[in-house]
């Protein structure tokens, strides 16, 4: 049983390693915390910033297991959990987060096999890496990807990000594209 209601996915996430304060990122954008250590993750989460996601498999000091999922959701209040492990994605949903199974799209055979392992449960979406691959996946295979769907990695420009948003529900862009993407977002 879910402990809280999973939030809606923002259209744009900015990738952050926590070195620059996440509170400086436009509040309409999500922040994907990745390639940082446990202390930096905790500091970012305690900054009061909302719309935080974490790439669970890339946090130094954090084992990608059930205890880690509980820690980032219950203790740190992180709303979106990205993981390569289907069981952890399912666990994150049970704890009230929106989970995104991280799937690598290198070729159609490998992608098909990864999608076979997707939990396909409510609240478990998908992150596809690298992001530009999404435009090259066949319509049939794309239809098999559980939503919501985010494109992540090697998105070289805001223009490319906007193109990918026609196919995906969200994109993850590098920090240097954050301001340009915020400028393209509707004002609240």
């Amino acid at each position: 049983m879910a402990e809280r209601t999973a939030p809606a996915l923002p259209r744009v996430f900015v990738a952050s390693d926590g070195r620059d304060p996440v509170r400086l990122i436009d509040p309409r954008l999500g922040v994907l915390l990745r390639d940082l250590d446990l202390f930096a993750l905790q500091a970012a989460a305690e900054s009061g910033r909302r719309l935080l996601a974490v790439d669970l498999d890339s946090v130094e000091g954090l084992n990608a297991d059930s205890a880690a999922v509980a820690f980032v959701i219950r203790r740190l209040g992180i709303e979106f959990v990205v993981t390569r492990r289907p069981a952890l994605a399912s666990r994150a949903v049970q704890l009230g987060a929106l989970a995104l199974l991280h799937v690598f799209a290198f070729d159609s055979t490998g992608l098909g096999r990864s999608l076979d392992a997707h939990p396909r449960a409510a609240g478990v979406g998908t992150v596809i890496s690298p992001g530009p691959a999404l435009a090259h996946i066949s319509v049939e295979l794309r239809a098999r990807i559980p939503r919501p769907l985010a494109a992540y990695g090697l998105i070289g420009s805001p223009e490319r990000a906007l193109t990918l948003l026609r196919l995906a529900d969200a994109v993850v862009v590098p920090a240097e594209q954050g301001a340009a993407m915020a400028a393209r977002m509707p004002r609240r």
Binding site: T109, H136, G153
Partner: protein, 196 residues
Amino acid sequence: MASRPAAAREFMARMAASPCCAAITSDQVIEAAIASRVAILFVLRTDGLGLEALIDRIHGAGKLAAVHLDLVDGLRADRTAVRWLARAGVDAVISSRGQLMQAVQREGMVAIHRLLLVRHGLLESGFAAVSRSGADIVEVLPGAILPDVRALLPPLRVPLLAGGFIWTEEQARAVLAAGAAAVTTSAQHLWNMDLG
């Protein structure tokens, strides 16, 4: 061992003359690849312990065989398996394991280091690894995004091969124009096209 430079030269020359290579993802498509105009078959899925007949068949058709050590059944990606592939007559070995590239070359085969393009933060370490490995060729996946990301990639001193999500002639030509020396594809209709 002395045959390696010659083997590499011949492999590159065949790749340059016929830059569309067949990606063999099941035994069912081998005959189609052999009958096509491709010069090199990249065997991704098959029984790695029973390769001799297949390699003989490929060579008998005047083509070269590259085998993906990390993907074929029955073989662990280590130095002994590299020797096994050499005994089977394989011309080139593909692997994501850079530490095996020199072992592949010592056995007289062409070493192809597979590099997975994931995100900006991993590019630097990935390219450092392929530079260190001393491979003869680097294969990037997914190849179809090469035109999108070429500017993000550092220059390489070895030929670039691109595979993954290449379905159309237009995509293949765009990837070649972005700097790939050749493409690998399982799209059979491309195997008979002249992309040179």
